[in-house]
Assembly symmetry: C2
Homo-oligomer: 426 residues x 2
């Protein structure tokens, strides 16, 4: 039977739609994330995908405002649209914590695993609908630096569970170091530009980075200091030495160095010393980070880019409440990660057949018995499917061998004797 499409049935551009085998692999990663987050004491919540623009855009601007999907009931016009799809988990979390504050225990260790939406320009490896898998710890009034390490450790444990067969490295810095340094250099007014240039430095050539510094009018000395700063990554002690050599004395900078040291030592104590590096190139684009910032990479796959990221923010919900809610969080962008892992053959689509046992009644007379056998097999913990489709036994066997690891053929004799053979398919 040949099919003739009447309509374009591609998913819309920017959407990841997987075949069942790939979906099974994706789901396995998602389950490992959910399980590891839970194991570390994070409580799962789900917020609605649709929220009021007043909430979602309370802070946003720039790209976010341009990329957000507004929703309208068909009867309404766009001018009336006051609802939209969430573009991350952080804004709905802020609303959630303010709304349910009296019912939550602080520090609130919370996980969120779900789809978010951004109408970005569609391109390879960029998705408009994407899973984010977040952990956050929200304090009320105060939140010890310990929790920065708790988040990083939880995420590193999660990547361990993936068993990718290639190392994962957490590169960590602290925003206070650069902020303090820019204070010391009297460059606060150019801070936003400088953050952005450093944040992009690994994606462009050294010449372009230098040119960008020139463009914002840095002196040769300032430029030198920043370029030297950006060379500091790897061993914490050496990074500190390098920072001292810059000869800038600033209290914020010193606080950042201390915090970074504490976090690195805690992550080491948590068993992930091998996976963590201090790295001054880590800044993170979002301007709400105020302390620890981190990104995970696969050093053997530099093209994969950042596979996880996060940091400390001084106030989760300043736009929604006068409560002080400091937090620290991190997120695995699972849709992009899955794409990157598949591209680099670091996950195989579930090559295993999805069903353990196919029960194949020769005729419909054996259907009742087939159902009993299937039920028995499921009670034993295996998955089972009854194959009732196909004109001939050969068709049924072919289908069974395609979906299942083992098969049980049931004819008159098997029904009469109650005995059957389990055949392994190759």
């Amino acid at each position: 039977m040949k099919s003739m499409k009447k309509i374009n049935t591609n998913p819309i551009s920017g959407m990841q739609e997987l075949l069942p085998e790939a979906q099974a692999t994706f789901n396995k990663l998602k389950d490992l994330i959910s399980e590891t987050y839970r194991h570390h004491g994070y409580l799962n919540i789900e917020t609605p995908v649709i929220d009021r623009c007043e909430i979602l855009l309370a802070k946003a601007g720039g790209d976010t405002e341009k990329q957000i999907y507004k929703v309208v009931k068909t009867a309404e016009t766009a001018e009336m649209a006051d609802q939209a799809l969430r573009f991350d988990h952080t804004v709905p979390l802020a609303r959630y914590v303010v709304e349910h504050e009296s019912d939550l225990k602080f520090p609130f260790k919370v996980s969120q695993i779900g789809r978010n939406y951004r109408g970005e320009r569609a391109q390879k490896g960029r998705f408009r609908e994407f899973y984010q898998c977040d952990v956050d710890v929200i304090g009320r009034g105060e939140l010890p630096i310990y929790y920065d390490a708790d988040v990083i450790l939880t995420l590193l444990d999660t990547f361990d569970k993936f068993e990718l067969g290639t190392p994962v490295v957490a590169r960590v810095s602290n925003r206070k170091i650069l902020t303090g340094m820019l204070e010391g250099l009297n460059l606060q007014e150019k801070a936003t530009d400088i953050y952005s240039i450093i944040d992009h430095c690994e994606k462009v050539s050294a010449e372009k980075t230098e040119a960008a510094f020139d463009e914002i009018g840095l002196t040769a000395d300032e430029k030198d200091k920043l370029l030297n700063f950006m060379k500091l990554h790897g061993d914490y002690e050496k990074v500190i030495e390098g920072l001292i050599k810059l000869g800038i004395d600033n209290v914020t900078m010193r606080a950042g160095i201390d915090e970074l040291g504490v976090v690195l030592k805690l992550v080491e104590a948590g068993g992930h010393g091998d996976a963590i590096r201090a790295d001054m190139r880590i800044v993170r684009g979002l301007d709400y980070y105020t302390g620890t910032v981190f990104e995970f990479n696969l050093p053997e796959y530099p093209g994969a880019g950042s596979v996880c990221g996060g940091g400390r923010y001084e106030n989760l919900a300043g736009y929604f409440t006068d409560l002080s809610l400091p937090g620290v969080g991190g997120s695995i962008g699972l849709t992009r990660l899955f794409y990157v892992l598949a591209e680099n053959k670091l996950v195989k689509s579930q090559t295993e057949k999805p069903v353990d046992v196919a029960i194949i009644p020769i005729t419909d007379n054996e259907l009742n018995y087939a159902l009993k056998v299937a039920s028995l097999i499921r009670t034993g913990g295996e998955t089972a499917t009854v194959v009732a489709s196909g004109k001939k036994l050969g068709d049924k066997m072919k289908y069974a061998a395609a979906v299942a690891k083992k098969g049980i053929v049931l004819g008159e004799a098997e029904v009469a004797s109650g005995k059957y053979r389990v055949k392994e398919f190759n």
Copy 2:
């Protein structure tokens, strides 16, 4: 610290937003559904929530068209909106099967668990964002009646796994019976009205149903026959007797009676004879059902209404392809079900504390050791959280007792000796 909201932080109307304890219970049900569907050999897929209106509205009309959420990027106007949020799983499944047809094995046993969107008038127990948990079997060209039973059995097994402590009953009919009967009575032109009146009969009084029949101009004899028809429910043999007594001889009707008999016997063979009833009041609103139709109820909680439903459709994707794709499916509306179960106290919010063990370092000096202990406990399979917040040990203990079942306090002595006591919280 008293909080002062700056903005309304309610979720928008029609959204179910749960506290962590309730969310844990919800997730448990969702996991049981996913696990049972998988055990029965259904392959999970996920389709994008956003799709083209051309796809989503290919067939829809009436309420669907009015309720659908269109999405617009902010730069665009509503007139340009050609994308919207899916309102069920069936339409995206149709697109998926047509799009990926050559990569799928038929019969394609498929499950979908995810959120859908309808801008319905918000009211108690009605949600605008809701989880549907679907199983479907799609054939290519043909699909044996066996799969109707496969779907019902899978859903009944799922409800068993919930352990609600109250019976669940599957009420089954076959559209061909009523369709054939209306042919026999020469009432085909009034079929849509009659379907709708019967579909609503359990929500209104007997008088209203009679009045509705009068209103569409039925004769006393026609009305009598339909009222007698609607009284037929319970034991299959008695239902058949009753259908014969109606004295209508129609080939479609006879085919429907036979199919219903086959389905009921298969469900019995699958171990759920106690949970299944023939019931002529079951029609299902959607006009695409063409054979088996079913609804699940909780007889001890009549107010709960239908908690699951589905049926056979002759052609999944007639609007998208000329391929013949007969299917049968059913769906648990988990968001509504969870609401109904909670209302009737049939699920308790996870009263169990979410974390197994809280590790409480007395000072920050014991943090490193606390991380090692936490890691050890997780390796043993338990969930563990380190409590680092709180000025005094008493504050930490209070928090630990609130989130965890057991606690381990670590001071200098414990670090020195490597020995610690596990305390059970009440």
